[in-house]
C-alpha cells in the first residue's frame, strides 16, 4: 500500500493559525493605540516630495519589499502551523505478516551433519522468497532445541541460518581423526561452534529420534486460536535411532491433526535415495499431501515457496496496523528559509 501524507493533528495547525491571526489583530490594535494619530509631526506640501522620481522609486521598492515580507511571514506561519500539526506519512502495513507460519525442522544427528550446510542454504534461499511470513528454526537429534521461535525478523533469521551453516560446515573427515590436543585454535573454535549449534539436542541414551523431533516442531506454533497457514519443512535422512516416543508416521499424524502442512526434504547421501528409510520418509510425507524433495532437486525451493504462498493467508481480525513516519522535511525547510528571509528583511527594510 502506498504511503499517504496527512496532517496528524489538524486542530493544532488550525490553532497555530488562529493564534497568528489573534497576534496580528493585537499587534495592529496596539500599534494604533500606542501611536495616536494626533501626536505626529505635521508637515505640509509633501506633494512636492512624492512627485520626485527618486522618492517614488524608493516607495515602490519599499511597498514591494513589504509585500514580499508579508508573503514570507504568511508562508512561515503556514509552515509553522503544518509543522505543529505534525505532517506524517501513514503507511498501512498489511497484516499478512503473521498469517503464515513456517517451522524449519532440521535433523542435526551425526548422519545428517555433512548435509546440514546444504539444507541450511536451501532454508536461507527459501526465506529470501518470503515477506511477512513468520519463520522458526528447530534443530533436533534425540531432543529438539529451538534456535529461534516464530519471527518475522528476517535479519535475525538470515544471521542465524548463516551462523548455523558455518557451524555445521566443519570438515568432519579431517577433524574426526584428531584428538582435541592435536587441533589448532581455529579448528577448536570450529568444533566449539558446532557444539554450540547442536547443544541441547542430544540426550545420553538416544540419537536421531526423528519422530520426536517432528512432534516437537509441531508444538512450535503459537496463536492456536486463529486460523493460520502452518507449515513444517522437515529435513532429515530418516536414519532413526532406537526407541523414539513418536515414530515418524505417528508424528506425521500429530502434525496433520493440528492442521499443519508437512513438507519433506531428504538430506541423506544420494546413493540411499530409494532405500528403506528414504522410501518411508517419502511415503509418510506424501500420505499427508505434502511436497517431498531431495536435497539436490533444483526446483525444490521454487515449488515449496509456490505451495506455501498458495495456501490461503487468513486475514487476522486484528486492526490493520498503520505506521506513522514524521515527514517534517519540506515544511521545516520552508520555515527555516522564511525565518532567514525575515531576518534579512528586518535588517534591510526599515519601517
Amino acid at each position: 500500500m502506498s504511503p499517504e501524507q496527512t496532517i496528524l493533528w489538524p486542530w493544532v495547525a488550525a490553532g497555530v493559525i488562529a493564534v497568528a491571526l489573534v497576534w496580528c489583530v493585537v499587534a495592529v490594535v496596539v500599534a494604533r493605540r500606542g501611536r495616536p494619530a494626533d501626536d505626529v509631526v505635521r508637515v505640509a506640501h509633501t506633494e512636492h516630495l512624492t512627485r520626485l522620481p527618486e522618492v517614488r522609486r524608493a516607495l515602490r521598492w519599499h511597498r514591494i519589499a513589504h509585500g514580499l515580507g508579508a508573503l514570507v511571514v504568511l508562508a512561515a506561519v503556514v509552515a509553522t502551523s503544518l509543522l505543529a500539526g505534525r505532517p506524517v506519512e501513514r503507511e498501512v502495513v498489511a497484516e499478512r505478516l503473521a498469517t503464515r507460519d513456517i517451522v524449519l525442522c532440521l535433523d542435526v544427528s551425526g548422519s545428517m551433519l555433512p548435509y546440514d550446510a546444504a539444507v541450511l542454504s536451501v532454508y536461507a534461499e527459501l526465506t529470501e522468497h518470503f515477506a511477512g511470513e513468520r519463520i522458526a528454526l528447530v534443530v533436533f537429534d534425540s531432543t529438539a532445541r529451538t534456535v529461534f521461535p516464530l519471527t518475522d525478523d528476517y535479519t535475525l533469521v538470515g544471521d542465524q541460518l548463516a551462523a548455523g551453516a558455518e557451524a555445521v560446515g566443519i570438515d568432519l573427515d579431517r577433524l574426526g581423526d584428531k584428538t582435541l590436543d592435536e587441533m589448532s585454535d581455529g579448528e577448536l573454535a570450529q568444533v566449539q561452534e558446532l557444539l554450540a549449534f547442536t547443544a541441547g539436542t542430544t540426550s545420553l541414551a538416544d540419537s536421531s529420534l526423528i519422530g520426536d523431533g517432528l512432534a516437537t516442531c509441531a508444538l512450535q506454533f503459537d496463536e492456536q486460536g486463529s486460523e493460520r497457514s502452518r507449515s513444517i519443512l522437515l529435513a532429515t535422512d530418516n536414519f532413526v535411532g532406537e526407541d523414539p516416543v513418536y515414530a515418524l508416521g505417528e508424528a506425521a499424524e500429530l502434525v496433520a491433526s493440528r492442521d499443519i502442512t508437512l513438507y519433506g526434504l531428504y538430506g541423506g547421501p544420494t546413493d540411499r535415495v530409494g532405500g528403506t528409510e528414504e522410501s518411508e520418509y517419502r511415503s509418510v510425507v506424501s500420505e499427508h499431501g505434502g511436497l517431498y524433495f531431495t536435497l539436490d532437486d533444483p526446483g525444490a525451493v521454487d515449488a515449496l515457496v509456490a505451495d506455501v504462498l498458495a495456501q490461503q493467508a487468513v486475514e487476522l481480525d486484528a486492526d490493520a496496523e498503520s505506521v506513522l513516519h514524521d515527514v517534517p522535511g519540506r515544511w521545516y525547510a520552508a520555515l527555516l528559509l522564511g525565518t532567514v528571509l525575515l531576518i534579512a528583511a528586518a535588517w534591510r527594510v526599515r519601517p
Partner: protein
C-alpha cells in the same frame, strides 16, 4: 492671563536691537513713508509708477526731465498684514515650530514696528473658504485685538490656502498706498499669481514673508519624528515613511528640488520688485527683517 503679543515683541526686539531697529525705521521712512504730505521733503527724478500728480513741473522744466516733489509723510501709513491662514500654515516650520506661530510672530513684529511709529495696522487673513478682515487701527489695544484675531484663525482642519483670493481681496480693499506684508509659506504656486503680485506691487509697497516648511526627510524632521509618533501630511494625512530619511539619494533629490523651487520663486519676486524674506523660525524673524532693511537701504 494672556500676555500681550506686542509686549512680547517689545521685550525681545527693542532692548538688544534698539540701534538696528532705529535704522530699520529710518530705512522704512525713507522708502515707504515718503509720499503725499504737507511738509516738503525733497525732489527726485520721476520713475515709472510714481504718481503723475506729484510731478513738480517747474523743477522739471528747469532740469529738462520729469522731477517729482516728495513730501515727508505727515500722517501715518497703513501696514496691511496679509496672512494666508490655509491648513498648510498649521504644519511644522523648518525650525520645528508651527508655521502659524512664525506667521503670528512676524505679524506681531511688523505690527509692533508700525505701532511704535504711529502707523495703522490692518489685517486681511484668509484661505479658500474663510476670510478675516480687521480694518486699520492705530491704538495698541486695537492692534493687539487684531493680532488676537489672527491667532484665533489658525485651525488644524482649516480649508486649503488660496493666495489668489487673498491677493484680489487686498487689491480691492486697500486703494491707498500701504505697506503690505504678505505672510504665507514657500510652496505657493507663485507663477500662477504673478499677475496679481505685479498689480499689488504697483499699488503698494509689498514685503513677502515666506515661512519655510519642515523638510520631511531632513535631519530636523528625523529628530522630531523620534520624539513623537512619526510624520504626517496635514492635507492628505499621508504618513511619511521613516526609511525615506535614511536614503541619501532621496534626501539629495529633495534638497535639489527645494533649491530649484526657491530659485524660481526668488527670481519671480525680484522680477516683480517684491521684497522677499524667508524665515524658518520665530528667532529668524527680527534678524531677517533687519537684514532686509539693510539691503534695501543700500539699494536706494
Amino acid at each position: 492671563m494672556p500676555v500681550s503679543r506686542l509686549a512680547l515683541v517689545r521685550a525681545r526686539v527693542s532692548l538688544p536691537l534698539t540701534r538696528r531697529a532705529t535704522g530699520f525705521l529710518a530705512g522704512r521712512h525713507r522708502s515707504v513713508l515718503t509720499g503725499h504730505g504737507q511738509d516738503f521733503d525733497d525732489l527726485r527724478h520721476y520713475e515709472p509708477g510714481d504718481d503723475v500728480g506729484d510731478i513738480d513741473w517747474k523743477a522739471s522744466a528747469r532740469a529738462g526731465e520729469p522731477i517729482i516733489r516728495r513730501f515727508a509723510h505727515e500722517s501715518s501709513l497703513t501696514v496691511v498684514l496679509l496672512v494666508d491662514t490655509g491648513r498648510t500654515m498649521t504644519a511644522t516650520a523648518a525650525g520645528g515650530e508651527e508655521k502659524s506661530a512664525v506667521a503670528d510672530y512676524t505679524a506681531a513684529v511688523t505690527a509692533y514696528l508700525a505701532a511704535s511709529r504711529g502707523d495703522r495696522v490692518a489685517l486681511l487673513a484668509g484661505d479658500a473658504d474663510r476670510f478675516v478682515h480687521r480694518p486699520a487701527r492705530v491704538s495698541a489695544g486695537e492692534i493687539e485685538a487684531t493680532l488676537r484675531a489672527l491667532e484665533a484663525t489658525w485651525s488644524a482642519d482649516a480649508p486649503p490656502s488660496d493666495l489668489g483670493v487673498l491677493l484680489r481681496r487686498a487689491l480691492s480693499t486697500f486703494r491707498r498706498r500701504c505697506l503690505v506684508v504678505l505672510v504665507t509659506d514657500e510652496a505657493q504656486p507663485w507663477t500662477a499669481h504673478e499677475r496679481l503680485l505685479k498689480l499689488l506691487a504697483v499699488q503698494h509697497e509689498v514685503l513677502v514673508v515666506t515661512v519655510e516648511d519642515l523638510d520631511p526627510v531632513g535631519s530636523r524632521a528625523a529628530e522630531l519624528a523620534r520624539e513623537r509618533g512619526g510624520i504626517a501630511d496635514v492635507t492628505n494625512g499621508w504618513r511619511v515613511p521613516g526609511f525615506l530619511r535614511s536614503r541619501r539619494r532621496v534626501r539629495e533629490a529633495v534638497g535639489r528640488a527645494l533649491a530649484e523651487r526657491r530659485a524660481e520663486t526668488e527670481a519671480l519676486l525680484s522680477r516683480r520688485r517684491l521684497q522677499a524674506l524667508r524665515v524658518a523660525s520665530t528667532d529668524e524673524v527680527v534678524p531677517a527683517l533687519v537684514d532686509l532693511m539693510r539691503r534695501q537701504r543700500r539699494a536706494r
